[in-house]
C-alpha cells in the first residue's frame, strides 16, 4: 500500500489534533473539570497514535501511546499542575516530532519526555497501568512471509479466572498457527512469566481463512474471554494493544464518532494548498491580462471588443471571488494556538489571565495567515506583560482578581479586523512622555503640547524604547513600532486606544487578501499610483481655490470641520509644476483610526483590481509604499501606504 499519499493529510490533521489537545487542557486548567477533558484528550491522542502508526512514524506513535496510558491512569483523579505541565511538554514534543517528520528529519530525540511520562506513570498510578507500559515499551516488527495472503491482527483477552494464562495463550497461538502462519506475538507470550502476564495479547497472523472464521475459531477456545480480528498490513507494523478492556470500547466509540464527523463534512474536500496557490496565480495573470486588454480596447474603440472586455471583466471578477472563497481560512486557524500561548506567558510572568476569543469563524484569505502570527503574538505579549497587572495590584485597585484578555476578529467590508483588548492598567501618558523626552524623540515643548493621541502615536514610533526599559518605566510599547511596520507592509493599519486604569485596545485592520485587492489608480504629474480602497473614506473633486494654507499646513474647510491635506506632488517629490496649476484636484480622503486626511492628487484614473507584489527585501525599508502592481501597459505602479501620510 502506498501510504505517501496520506502524508499531507496526516500533517494537517495531526496539527488539528494537537491544537485540540492544547485547547482542551488549557480549558481544564481554567474550569478544573477533568472528567469532561480526559475523554477528549484520550480520543485525540488515541487517534493521533493510530494515524502515526499507520504512517510508520514510530516516535509519534510511541509518545502518543505513553500519553494514552498516562491519560488513562488519570481518569479517576484530577491531575495536578505537575501533570498538566508534563502533558503540555509532551504535546510540544509531539508537535516537534510532527514538524520534524514533515521535514523528513528523523534526528529529533524525545527520549527524555518519553521517559518522564513513563516514570510519572509508574510513580503515580496503580501497578496494572505500569505493567501495561512495560509490556508495550518495546516496538515489534512484523514482516509478511508470503505475498497475496491476507494478514490479521488477532486481539485476544483471556478469562481472568484462567489459571495457566501463558499456557492458554500458547494454545491459542498454536491453534492459529495450525490454520495459517503466526508472524509475531505481542507481547512475546512464551517469554512471559505467569505473574506478569495479564492475559491480553495480539497475534499477527497470515492466513487464507476469512476474518469471521478466525474469530469464531478463537472464540470457541476454552478460557478465551474476548477476541477481535482486524486486518493488518505491515505499514502498521506497530503494536496497538490497548492497555485495558475499557479502552477497546472507547476505541469503538471514537471510531464511530469519527464516522459521524466524516459524514457531517462530506460536502467539503481537502485540497492541497499548492493548488490554491496555483489557482490564485492563474487569476493574477488573468487580472493583469484583462487590464492590458482593457487598455488596448480603449485605444481601438470597437463596440464588440468593448462588450467582450466588459463580459470578461465580470466573469473574471466572479472567478476571482470563487477562488478567494476557496482560499478562505477561518480565524480559528490562528486563534486556536493562543490559549496555550497566553497560558504559558501568564504562568511565566506570574499573571492570572483569562483569554476570550471571539470571531473564530471570521474568514480571510490564507495569504494573511503567515503574516498574522508575529504581530498578534506581539500584541498579546504586550498585554500580558505590560497591560494586565499582578494579582496583588489588581486586588488593591478593586479589579477582578483575574485579568481578561480578549481577541476578537471581525469582517469589515474588504478588511478583517483583529482587536486585542485587555482590562489592565492602560497607558500612562506622563510616563510615556518622560520616556520619549529621555530618548530624544521629542523636546520639552512637544511634551507640553502633547495630548493623549500624540502619546499613543509616540509609543508606536521606532526607537521609542527597548523592551527591558519600557517594562520598568511605563508598561507598554514593546515592539509596537515593529507591529505597526508589519501591519502597514500588509496594507493595513494599527490603532491603539487606551483608558488609563482600565485597559488598552489594539486594533489591527488588514485587507482580507494580500493577493488581489481593489484599488484606486491616481495620477500625479506623469506618475501613477495605486491606493487600496480599504482605507479610502471618500473621493472628491476640489477646486484649488478651496484649499488653504494655515500654519504651514494645507487644509480644506468643510461642513464637518477642517480636513488636513497632504499635497502628494510634494510628499512624493514628483517632478513638474507645483500644486497651483489652476485645475481642480482629486482629494482622496483616507481614514486611519479616528484620523482623516485628504491626499491631493492631480487626477483619478479608475478603480480596478490589482495584483499585489511585494517590494522585495531591498526596497522594504522604503517608507510610504506597501508594494507594487503591474499596470495594463506593463509598467509597474507603486501601491501607496496611505497610513504613513496621515
Amino acid at each position: 500500500m502506498d501510504i505517501s499519499k496520506y502524508r499531507d493529510i496526516f500533517f494537517t490533521e495531526s496539527r488539528e489534533y494537537l491544537t485540540q489537545l492544547n485547547t482542551v487542557l488549557v480549558q481544564y486548567e481554567k474550569d478544573g473539570n477533568f472528567r469532561s477533558a480526559v475523554d477528549e484528550l484520550f480520543r485525540s491522542v488515541h487517534t493521533l497514535k493510530g494515524m502515526a502508526s499507520a504512517m510508520g512514524y514510530e516516535q509519534i506513535a510511541d509518545l502518543s501511546h505513553e500519553l494514552e496510558n498516562f491519560l488513562d491512569s488519570m481518569r479517576d483523579h484530577n491531575p495536578g499542575s505537575k501533570d498538566t505541565d508534563l502533558l503540555f511538554q509532551a504535546f510540544d514534543a509531539l508537535e516537534q516530532l510532527v514538524n520534524a517528520q514533515e521535514r523528513d528529519d528523523e534526528e529529533l530525540d524525545v527520549a527524555e519526555i518519553l521517559e518522564a511520562v513513563r516514570s510519572r506513570l509508574q510513580e503515580g498510578v496503580s501497578g496494572q497501568a505500569s505493567q501495561s507500559v512495560a509490556r508495550n515499551s518495546e516496538p515489534i516488527q512484523v514482516a509478511l512471509v508470503e505475498d497475496g495472503i491476507p494478514a490479521y491482527r488477532v486481539k485476544v483477552r483471556l478469562d481472568q479466572e484462567c489459571v495457566f494464562k501463558v499456557a492458554r495463550a500458547m494454545v491459542v497461538i498454536g491453534t492459529l498457527d495450525s490454520v495459517g502462519r503466526v508472524l509475531a506475538c505481542d507481547p512475546e507470550v512464551a517469554e512471559k512469566a505467569e505473574s506478569t502476564f495479564d492475559g491480553m495479547f495480539d497475534v499477527y497472523l497470515q492466513c487464507s481463512e476469512v476474518q469471521s472464521k478466525i474469530e469464531e475459531m478463537v472464540r470457541q477456545m476454552p478460557e478465551v474471554m474476548a477476541v477481535e480480528v482486524l486486518p493488518f498490513s505491515p505499514d502498521m507494523d506497530r503494536k496497538q494493544l490497548d492497555p485495558k478492556p475499557a479502552a477497546l470500547k472507547r476505541e469503538r466509540q471514537a471510531a464511530s464518532l469519527g464516522m459521524d464527523k466524516a459524514l457531517a463534512v462530506s460536502e467539503t474536500v481537502r485540497v492541497n494548498v499548492a493548488h490554491l496557490e496555483a489557482m490564485m496565480n492563474a487569476c493574477e495573470t488573468l487580472v493583469m491580462d484583462r487590464a492590458a486588454l482593457a487598455r488596448l480596447s480603449e485605444a481601438i474603440r470597437d463596440k464588440d471588443l468593448d462588450r467582450l472586455v466588459g463580459a470578461l471583466t465580470r466573469n473574471l471578477s466572479d472567478l476571482q471571488h470563487e477562488v478567494l472563497q476557496a482560499r478562505m481560512v477561518p480565524a480559528a486557524e490562528i486563534l486556536d494556538r493562543f490559549p496555550r500561548m497566553v497560558r504559558d506567558l501568564a504562568k511565566e510572568l506570574g499573571r492570572e489571565v483569562d483569554l476570550v476569543c471571539t470571531g473564530r469563524d471570521t474568514e480571510f484569505d490564507r495569504s494573511l495567515l503567515e503574516h498574522l502570527g508575529d504581530p498578534l503574538v506581539h500584541l498579546l505579549r504586550n498585554a500580558v506583560d505590560h497591560g494586565i497587572e499582578s494579582t496583588e495590584e489588581r486586588i488593591a485597585s478593586g479589579k477582578p482578581r483575574r485579568g481578561t484578555l480578549t481577541i476578537s476578529v471581525n469582517r469589515d467590508r474588504d478588511n478583517v479586523v483583529f482587536m486585542v483588548e485587555d482590562d489592565g492598567k492602560g497607558i500612562n501618558k506622563d510616563a510615556v512622555l518622560r520616556k520619549a523626552l529621555d530618548s530624544g524623540l521629542i523636546d520639552q515643548d512637544e511634551v507640553e503640547a502633547a495630548d493623549f493621541d500624540d502619546t499613543l502615536e509616540l509609543i508606536m514610533r521606532p526607537g521609542f524604547s527597548t523592551a527591558t526599559s519600557v517594562s520598568k518605566v511605563s508598561g507598554r510599547g514593546v515592539g509596537l513600532d515593529v507591529v505597526r511596520h508589519s501591519v502597514r507592509s500588509l496594507g493595513g493599519a494599527l490603532d491603539v486606544e487606551s483608558a488609563p486604569g482600565s485597559g488598552t485596545r489594539c486594533t489591527m485592520r488588514l485587507p482580507i487578501t494580500l493577493a488581489i485587492i481593489k484599488a484606486l489608480l491616481v495620477q500625479v504629474g506623469e506618475e501613477e499610483y495605486a491606493i487600496p480602497t480599504g482605507h479610502v473614506f471618500e473621493v472628491m473633486a476640489v477646486p484649488e481655490s478651496d484649499m488653504n494654507l494655515v500654519n504651514r499646513q494645507w487644509v480644506l474647510a468643510r461642513e464637518q470641520g477642517v480636513l488636513p491635506l497632504v499635497i502628494m506632488r510634494d510628499a512624493l517629490e514628483v517632478a513638474g509644476e507645483k500644486v497651483r496649476d489652476g485645475r481642480p484636484k482629486t482629494v482622496v480622503v483616507v481614514s486611519v483610526g479616528s484620523r482623516r486626511s485628504g491626499l491631493v492628487f492631480d487626477r483619478l484614473l479608475e478603480q480596478q483590481d490589482i495584483v499585489v507584489k511585494g517590494l522585495g527585501d531591498l526596497l522594504r525599508p522604503v517608507e510610504g509604499f506597501t508594494g507594487v502592481t503591474i499596470g495594463g501597459d506593463g509598467r509597474p505602479i507603486l501601491i501607496l501606504d496611505v497610513t504613513s501620510f496621515v
Binding site: 495457566f164 499456557a167 500458547m170 470457541q220 477456545m221
Partner: protein
C-alpha cells in the same frame, strides 16, 4: 472420522484414568487403551493409533513431556491433550512447545475436558 473417536488415556493414577474415561465415554468417545507410564504410552500409541491422547504431566520413568515428544516423532499429526495439576504451568508450556495441542487443569471439570477434547479432534 468414521465411528466414535478413539482415545488413549495416560495417567499413573487409576482414579484419574477412570474418571477421565467416564467423562470422555459420556460424550461418545471410545477408550481404546490406557497407560500408566510414559514409555508405555509411546508403545501403546504406536500400537493403537488413537485419535486423541490424554497425557498426565508427571509420571514415573518417562514424564509426560518426553512422551509427547516421542509420540510426535512417530506421528507428527498426533493429538495430545495434557492433564496437569496446579503449579505445573512451566511443564505445560514445555509440553505445548513440544507440540501438545491443549491442556486441562485438575481438578477436572467434565465440560472443560470435553470442550478441549472435541476441539482437538475436530
Amino acid at each position: 472420522m468414521a465411528g466414535a473417536p478413539t482415545v488413549l488415556i495416560v495417567d499413573d493414577a487409576v482414579f484419574m484414568r477412570n474418571m477421565l474415561a467416564d467423562i470422555l465415554r459420556s460424550d461418545g468417545f471410545e477408550i481404546v487403551g490406557e497407560a500408566s507410564t510414559g514409555i508405555e504410552a509411546v508403545d501403546k500409541y504406536r500400537e493403537l493409533g488413537p485419535d486423541l491422547v490424554t497425557m498426565d504431566v508427571i509420571m514415573p520413568d518417562m514424564g509426560g513431556i518426553d512422551a509427547v515428544k516421542q509420540i510426535l516423532e512417530q506421528d507428527a499429526n498426533a493429538k495430545v491433550m495434557m492433564c496437569s495439576a496446579m503449579g505445573q504451568q512451566a511443564l505445560v508450556i514445555e509440553a505445548i512447545q513440544a507440540g501438545a495441542k491443549d491442556f486441562v487443569v485438575k481438578p477436572f471439570h467434565p465440560s472443560r475436558v470435553l470442550e478441549a477434547a472435541r476441539r482437538i479432534i475436530k
